[in-house]
Amino acid sequence: MTSVDITPEARRRKAASPFVRRIKRLGVVLFSILATLFGLLFVTFLIARVMPIDPVLAVVGERASNEIYEAAYKQLGLDKPLVVQFFYYVWDVITGDFGMSTLTARPVLQDIARVFPATLELATLATIIGVVLGIPAGVIAAVNEGRWQDQILRFIGLFGYSMPIFWIGLIGLLIFYGKLGWVGGPGRLDIYYVDIVPSVTGMILIDSLIVRDWTIFWNAVSHIILPASILGYYSLAYISRMTRSFMLEQLGQEYITTARVKGLSETKVIWRHALGNVMIPLITVIVLSYATLLEGSVLTEVIFAWPGLGNYITNALLSADMNAVLGGTVIVGLVFVGLNLLSDILYKFVDPRAR
């Protein structure tokens, strides 16, 4: 008697060489990313061409003579058809040339490289807070569905989705810095500590640890704790809500009953069986929440005078430094796309059904 021990899918999968399959999948993914990036550049290009500011005047100044204007016009390639301009633009971006900032007179990319680690530091710390506090909170809320633990979480989430982050940042500064003096004020460090520690990663917390300068380390902590906590609160609200949702879904599944039938304690059922299944979609959520923090950091950085990418873009905006604004926007868009890609990859890695 023949026994069908292997499902047709498994058999087919084993037939095609895994290498070929992987290349095929990679190709599809690559194409879709490139298409998105292309569109991204297209949008920023359009924005740049739509603006009412004359790019030539921005470079040569208002009092330039006609000849100089014409020369600059040709040099900027503005006499060529739009399509050609677009390809020049794409090429520039690929080679990392985002133009010069009219504010700092330095290449935009260089400026961005300087400010990016500050945002990175903030977003990373906020995500850590969100994950470490959010996942257990979500689990507890799901396990106690409907009871007070769940209601508290619901309110945390509700407040998180309703409060303007820049307002809560101001109030936080008012209370914890102004009235209580528990944390440092705006900026990453007290004035007299700036630029003492050599910048290796650009993240002061790490750099000061490398040289074991504890004074600067704790000073940096006192400055980052408030903005990171506020951003972390938003991250926590989101992650905990999603954790709760996923956990509730899993707790209704049959395999949970099986685990209980086997005689497992409820703790093991939740943390060993259910959580393993929850982590799969949750990893995507965590990566995406990291991406959302890039957005939240824009306003937070303004409030806390945090010299990161968000602050950079905002200042550039207010000074009509279009190259910087667009450069920053492209970088943010790239990071977003990159993070989305990362979350897809991680998902396939973690879910045995998707391999």
């Binding site: 569109g39 920023t44 307002w167 279009m322 926007t329």
Partner: protein
């Protein structure tokens, strides 16, 4: 079944089990939904908050104690309750309460315009993409993905930078960043519905694509879109306030709440009320939309509301 005595007029009409017309059936649905809303205290609170918002916007001239633009430099930065200013006065001596009340008009203006443009556009794109499929679907979804690839605030910033500061440009920028989410939802719903038997039945009767999409698919997408829209409104208010805070929304001396916070930022340590009060207004309105949205989700999508 029930031994109730005869219900009078309207109530009887709304409680009948056998509606006589489509209008009656729809009204009954509406009524039942309303009962559900009222029975949910938090959702009802959200509804009341929004009612207050609309009320303030409509009757601002009657509700505000003074004109929001009148300055009185002698009484600038008065604390709440002093000098007749219920919520205090700002750096130019203007009454904060009046400014907040008039600011509700701006908030409502922004919210309404975005609510009318973004979901409609998203619905159009999403349903056509989902129903027609093929390369139209691919292209439209690619475009949607591109817009979703930006964090909303940053994209709105870039747009306003290009178009110039001002309330109309801010609204346009927000709408441009908001529509993709609705396109995604509409497309997902369309894909679910498009293979249903009743769609096939209508098609067999000779219905064209446009007819199917408009008369059959749109009504079914409506509830998800409405729920999403109400919940989004909260975020849109925050984004608009953020733009205002950066000086990119309504221009001074208009009493836009975000701009008021920005103006009050300098004084936060000593005259905290200037920045705090408008922020409270933003918070309450946003909360109202969130509460109402949650409640609507329970009513319209009870299966999905279990999370």
């Amino acid at each position: 079944m029930s031994e109730q005595t005869e219900l009078s007029g309207l109530k009887a009409w709304l409680s009948t089990d056998v509606p006589a017309s489509r209008f009656q059936a729809k009204s009954i649905q509406f009524y039942l939904g309303w009962l559900k809303l009222v029975s949910n205290p938090l959702a009802f609170l959200g509804f009341l908050i929004l009612l207050v918002l609309v009320f303030c916007a409509m009757f601002a001239p009657f509700l505000a104690p003074v004109d929001p633009l009148t300055q009185d430099l002698a009484k600038r930065l008065s604390p709440p309750g002093v000098n007749g200013y219920l919520l205090g006065s700002d750096e130019l001596g203007r009454d904060i309460l009046s400014r907040i009340i008039y600011g509700s008009r701006i908030t409502l203006f922004i919210v309404t315009l975005v609510a009318v443009t973004a979901p409609v556009f998203g619905l159009l794109v999403g349903t056509f993409a989902g129903y027609l499929g093929g390369w139209i679907d691919e292209v439209l979804m690619r475009v949607t993905d591109i817009f979703l690839a930006f964090p909303k605030l940053v994209l709105a910033l870039a747009f306003v930078a290009a178009l110039g500061a001002g309330i109309e440009n801010a609204i346009l920028a927000i709408s441009i960043t908001a529509w993709p989410a609705y396109a995604r939802i509409a497309r997902a719903e369309t894909l679910t519905i498009r293979n249903s038997d009743f769609i096939s039945a209508v098609r067999l009767q000779g219905a064209g694509t446009l007819h199917i999409i408009v008369r059959h698919i749109w009504p079914l997408c409506l509830s998800s879109i409405i729920v999403r829209m109400t919940l989004d409104m909260a975020g849109i208010i925050l984004t608009a306030a953020g733009l205002g805070f950066l000086g990119l929304g309504a221009q001074p001396p208009m009493p836009e709440w975000g701009a008021m916070i920005s103006a009050g930022r300098k004084f936060i340590l000593d005259q905290w009320w200037v920045a705090t009060m408008p922020g409270l207004a933003i918070f309450i309105v946003s909360l109202g939309f969130n509460l109402l949205g949650d409640g609507l989700r329970d009513i319209l999508d009870p299966k999905k509301s279990k999370s």
